[in-house]
């Protein structure tokens, strides 16, 4: 009988727009993606920038992995809690 070796499964981690303490109804848009689709990131890296009235805010990557999905384009209005994209993160190997 063959012993099956476990293969790390990719995990999907959602990039969620944070609650920024904006006034109700204040417009918030994506102003820049700082990482391109398919590029790898490390948790905490600057991932995208959002813009409210005269103030930009950098959203860090929630995981180490690859940016596989962008769901909010530049200048698109967004809301806190909205999913903006997805990072595909490999299972971490505890031996590494």
């Amino acid at each position: 009988m063959h012993e099956s070796k476990s293969v790390p499964k990719p995990l999907s981690v959602e990039i969620v727009a944070p609650e920024l303490g904006l006034e109700t109804g204040e417009r918030l848009v994506v102003s820049s993606w700082l990482v391109r689709h398919g590029e790898t990131v490390v948790v905490g890296d600057r991932l995208l920038e959002v813009l409210a009235d005269r103030i930009t805010f950098d959203i860090p990557s929630p995981a180490t992995g690859t940016l596989v999905r962008i769901l909010a384009e530049i200048d698109e209005p967004i809301l806190p809690g909205q999913v903006l994209g997805t990072i595909s993160a490999a299972d971490s190997d505890p031996d590494l």
Binding site: G21, L51, D53, R54, T56
Partner: protein, 247 residues
Amino acid sequence: MNESLRKNDDYRQCTLEVYLLPRMDWADVLQLQHRFAYEIGDDPGKRAALIIVEHPAIVTVGRQGSHAHFRIDETELSDREIEVRWTNRGGGCWLHGPGSIAVYPIVPIRLNSLGLTGYREAIELALRRTLAEFLPTGDGRLDERGLTVGGRPIGGLGIAVKNNVAYHGGWINASLAPKWFDWLQVEPQNQKPMTSIARERRTPIRPDGVREAIVRNVVDVLGFGNFFLANAPQPSHRTRQPTHARI
């Protein structure tokens, strides 16, 4: 924006280091802001910094600025030896030069307390109070809202937040010469030319007095528990030729 800021105690335990710098290149000061933001991000709630400085002639363009806001072409900009830098802050185009005071608070932000809106309003309020101390009460007084006099911008805001630490900030035009005013739209939604405190008062203004008032109002509005005047940091190792504007 209300003249009274929402109540917060975010900075009561926080000490503000104030840097009143001599005229310095914009890029060197940006590097300093990044350094402070990095250090303050490691020690949030206890430390913040405020840089007040004038730059040699330069235009910085924020995320809400555009080429369309320039009323002279690139050749003329080049002839006047004015550098243009695109930045990651909010806001429009800022024209720096002698007499335009840049205000850079590097401050940790609690998103669930003051939040981005509260912080932006606080900086705007500090600049409004400063301007109100120097402007006349009749003609030439500060407008009811914003940083304008008779609709003409006299200050501006543009902030960036990284690792929950704010940097960049705003500017006040104390005494920049009027011949600078007409070729740049500094506010994205306001086509009127800039003005200055000196222009509205019709008398010369001492920028040191404006700097002192900015410090006092930032400390008061944000409610810092302590502040002190810090020594100017060591100069950058970068070597840059000084920029001399011919305006």
